[in-house]
Symmetry: C2
Subunit: 119 residues, 2 copies
């Protein structure tokens, strides 16, 4: 799991066309033409989006005859979701600590753990 994997995964998901390709592929495998049909753009453009999705590991594909069949690889989605979940958890822990602080010390506004411009 290389360090810049999340860069590439989020980058891949940052495009409506590629998200719609993912939305299609979670329902089952599809050929390149299947993916291209609803997308008002040229086939080479679809191929490029597909390459982005493959480069970050979200999609895999293999060729059989003249048809390339694509299927999703859900591991990358899980990694992205987990990063977001970790941030939201951390944020909620912060709210809890704030709650504790307000509950425990309603009249002793402690100060001294904060940022002091160390420069």
């Amino acid at each position: 799991m290389p360090k810049y994997e999340l860069d590439r995964i989020f980058q891949a998901l940052a495009d409506e066309t590629r998200r719609s390709m993912v939305e299609r592929l979670v329902r089952g495998p599809a050929s390149v033409s299947d993916l291209a049909r609803p997308l008002e753009m040229s086939l080479p453009a679809v191929m490029q989006h597909l390459q982005v999705l493959e480069a970050c590991g979200l999609v895999r594909s293999g060729k059989s005859g003249r048809v390339r069949t694509c299927h999703i690889q859900p591991e990358g989605l899980r990694a992205a979701q987990e990063w977001i979940a970790a941030q939201r958890t951390s944020w909620e822990r912060g709210l809890d600590r704030l709650g504790d602080y307000l509950a425990e010390e309603p009249q002793a506004p402690d100060q001294g753990l904060e940022k002091r411009s160390t420069s």
Copy 2:
């Protein structure tokens, strides 16, 4: 919730610097200088990343005196996480259907619901 919000949110998260700013901000508010200190880049560069995070609604900030204090706005993280969760759910439903299919019709390989090249 405009249609291209997810574009901007995923785009914002597709950068290690901005993710590290989010990781900092989920632990509590911070000034621009606080955000910049661990980031080996100029202050204007940090400002630009901050603007990206604000433009997609992940962060808000306000100025008091000469200090701008930034804090996270978790709504966007939730929206991104939910899109991913929906795809993963859809994918898992597909696995379930496949399991049902294999369990119900182990010797009658039904065909006819699949993609037929309609072109």
